[in-house]
């Protein structure tokens, strides 16, 4: 979930032309690639934050909608009750289920619209001050 959310964030808000390489081990990361959501990577868990939150900080993204989504990603990934995010368990199950039936590129293709939709929903919710219909 955190990984898929980071990939979506990078494509949408940091580098639309980003190409993703999938590896099983940090040792396999190509020299010209920027690893994320992996042990030892900078774009990863730090100080209690999940990788998505770290990425928002590193990219200097202050968009309140993204930080609102970050609460959900944080709870889906870490489940440490730092935030109240009732959406988290549902999204976590959806992402884990998709990862069981899809390979890595298909996983990113499938979760992209999921996060686009989440972004639009949370954007309208923040504007309205309540859940949109």
């Amino acid at each position: 979930m955190d990984r898929a959310a980071c990939a979506w964030l990078i494509r949408r808000f940091a580098d639309p032309d980003a190409v993703f390489v999938f590896v099983d081990d940090p040792d396999q990361v190509p020299g010209d690639a920027t690893p994320f959501d992996m042990r030892g990577a900078d774009l990863s868990h730090h100080g209690g934050d999940c990788s998505f939150e770290t990425a928002l900080r590193r990219f200097g993204l202050g968009d309140p909608v993204l930080w609102d989504i970050a609460r959900i990603v944080h709870e889906a990934d870490l489940d440490d009750e730092r935030y109240d995010a009732p959406e988290a368990p549902g999204l976590d199950v959806l992402c884990r289920g998709l990862s069981m039936i899809l390979d890595d590129p298909a996983m990113l293709a499938a979760t992209g619209p999921l996060f686009d939709g989440l972004y639009e929903f949370r954007r309208r919710a923040l504007l309205l001050g309540r859940e949109p219909s």
């Binding site: 042990r39 990863s44 868990h45 100080g47 209690g48 489940d79 440490d80």
Partner: protein, 155 residues
Amino acid sequence: MAGSIEWLLLAYRMPREPSTPRITVWRKLTRLGVAKLGDGLVALPADARSQERLEWIADEVIEAAGEASLWRSRLTSAAAERALVERMAGAIAADYRGLITAAGAAGASIPVRAQTVARLRRELRRISQRDYFPPPERDEARRAVESLTSRAAVR
């Protein structure tokens, strides 16, 4: 005969001060339901999700100026493995029994408060998440909480 379960072992050491990172790490390990094998040594049955979670915790330990390594291993004795599994199941069973008692107390008050039911449901979910060897008490706890749910709904 050797054990049949593959285990993840996290060996870690953290500075005594500051204590906050140490407490945070211990809280996360407790939430995962690890078996404490010794000072700075905990175990979980191996699976991909537990491995990823323990890896993140290992990194957190290292980030807090500690040392951590994650291992995969098997017990050399089936009897020792049984004892460990029974210990973990026993600890979880005690958690379920606490929940059953709490559900009984909540059911005695009329009407059953929806807020209390929500809290007990959350607690049930938490316990289930760290339950690797479900004891018989699990089904009893589920029934106890579900029966409250239906009663809170009708009132």
